[in-house]
């Protein structure tokens, strides 16, 4: 056996307010982009990546996602600022609505992907990735100086908890006076949660499932109290705490991109297939010019979904080969898919290899193992009735 993950964290690693709760629950901790985070909780309490994944698909799972960053833009020109730095059209947002978007470099590649929430007439909240917090904040500040708009890093002010799964709504409804059924997917509301007033509640998530993300004060006692209250409220639905392991397999089944994998500073919007979140009809935003040019030039590579047809599991970074064993691309994310019970992957390949059904090989420890291009997302949640 080799490469077992270490469970001891160096002292420089950052911790969320729920860190001691995770340790108390016996979670296996890992260093994730400089954060000491739970990867999974113990089998002894019904957890482990597969059980946690299944709980979110069939019941409810609870995640500490406080490592995510939050940037607030507020002021008379907040909309103009958001429009300038993001590729989606924030002018379409009503107050209380959110959208998936991205911050781009001038060359059309990714600074980060974000969720833009419109909290008020002139107030926006950008939820960003943990590993890119500092970079994103200085990039946002640097690119919005010309606007009459205040830019604040609120990342450390919040403990962010995700309540995900078809039973998420019934779980959280027990703890709040807000009418959650009235909140549509990718909308937000405010309400009292566990006695805490005016809490931001967003119907968003990173699991390809229905669910909510709540933003509560980041002191340890409050964070722990709310965490345990949610688990207790969800008990009748089989609620379990979920770590980053299940978060990754859930988002992969739903083909939700992960920064540093499907999107990065060397991959552009068209390659990543995020066209529908990029509004070229907007006259101006950072990256637009380069994207116009690259669209005219055509794609050199594109993101596809793969399913292993032979025995083997594709992993991040593995090479993708054609039938003559020539290298044609690389895997960005690969894993067993616990709900679909298949071995799946996302990979960049030339457009010639992107039609559904195309056979390719993934190089696994020196062997070309058969895989096929399949439709994505691999998993689509059933329509709510």
């Amino acid at each position: 056996m080799s490469s077992l993950e270490s469970t001891t964290a160096p002292s420089t690693v950052r911790k969320t307010a729920l860190n001691s709760v995770h340790r108390q629950m016996g979670a296996k901790m890992v260093d994730f982009n400089g954060w000491d985070m739970p990867v999974e909780y113990p089998a002894a309490i019904g957890c482990g990546i597969i059980n946690e994944h299944m709980a979110v698909r069939t019941g409810v799972g609870v995640f500490d996602v406080s490592h995510m960053g939050d940037i607030r833009l507020a002021g008379p020109e907040a909309l103009a600022a958001v429009q300038h730095i993001s590729m989606n059209d924030a002018a379409r947002l009503s107050v209380g609505q959110a959208q998936y978007s991205a911050l781009l470099y001038p060359q059309g590649t990714f600074v980060d992907d974000v969720i833009v929430h419109r909290l008020d007439e002139d107030e926006y909240l950008l939820v960003i990735n943990a590993g890119t917090r500092e970079k994103d904040f200085s990039w946002v500040r640097g690119n919005t100086r010309q606007f009459d708009c205040k830019v604040e890093d609120l990342s450390d002010a919040f403990t962010q908890i995700a309540i995900q799964g078809p039973k998420g709504v019934r779980t959280l409804q027990k703890l709040t006076d807000a009418d959650l059924n009235a909140v549509k997917f990718y909308w937000v509301t405010r309400g009292t949660v566990c006695g805490l007033k005016n809490i931001l509640i967003a119907r968003t998530g990173y699991t390809a499932e229905d669910g909510f993300e709540i933003y509560i004060p980041s002191d340890e006692a409050t964070s722990a109290r709310v965490w345990y209250a949610i688990l207790e409220a969800g008990k009748e639905f089989g609620a379990v705490p979920c770590g980053l392991g299940a978060r990754n397999t859930l988002r992969l089944e739903g083909k939700l991109p992960l920064y540093g994998h499907e999107i990065s500073d060397t991959i552009n919007v068209w390659e990543a297939g995020l066209d529908r979140f990029c509004k070229m009809e907007k006259p101006e935003f950072v990256g637009r010019e380069a994207l116009e040019k690259s669209k005219a030039e055509g794609l050199k590579r594109t993101l596809v979904g793969l399913e292993m047809v032979e025995r083997g599991i594709a992993r991040d970074g593995y090479r993708v080969l054609d039938s003559a064993a020539g290298e044609i691309g690389f895997v960005t994310s690969g894993s067993p898919a616990p709900f679909l019970k298949k071995n799946i992957a996302l990979a960049y390949v030339p457009p010639d290899f992107s039609p559904i059904g195309t056979g390719v090989k993934v190089e696994i420890r020196g062997q070309g193992v058969g895989a096929a291009v399949v439709p994505t997302p691999f998993y689509k949640r059933p329509k709510m009735t």
Binding site: S2, T7, G48, I50, G245
Partner: protein, 129 residues
């Protein structure tokens, strides 16, 4: 979990249970716990040669792939075929869910491996739990 005293252990977290000139090989409970949900075990075929300290296969969890290292040299006599369809057996009971039976080349090789007590001490230091 107590580590059975009828076998020896490696610092790479395999166990080997000798029985005369043959021996049974698996991975430890600490290993299965560290790996998490095991979904794939890749093992050599009967007749394959194992060389002490060298890789002989791999075990994959949802998260990661790890090499398996031979605790001793020998020839593969039997493979636990059940693991091909039920790799989760290793999570359920790592000390029962064996992987290979081998014909030992030199049973003295086992003398250099860790006793149950030494292994327990080793993982306590390594894992800090």
């Amino acid at each position: 979990m107590p580590y059975p005293t009828d076998r020896k252990y490696t610092k790479e977290h395999e166990w080997i249970q000798p029985n005369g000139s043959t021996a049974t090989i698996g991975i430890t409970d600490y290993a299965q716990q560290s790996l998490g949900d095991i979904v794939f075990v890749e093992l050599p075929k009967p007749g394959a040669e194992l060389s002490s300290g060298k890789t002989f296969g791999s075990v994959e969890s949802v998260k990661a792939v790890s090499d398996l290292f031979a605790p001793a040299s020998g020839t593969v006599a039997e493979v636990n075929e059940a693991l091909a369809t039920a790799p989760e057996n290793v999570n359920k009971d790592a000390h029962t869910a064996w992987m290979l039976k081998i014909n030992l080349k030199d049973s003295k090789e086992l003398d250099a491996l860790l006793s149950a007590a030494d292994y327990e001490k080793f993982v306590a230091e390594e894992g800090g739990h």
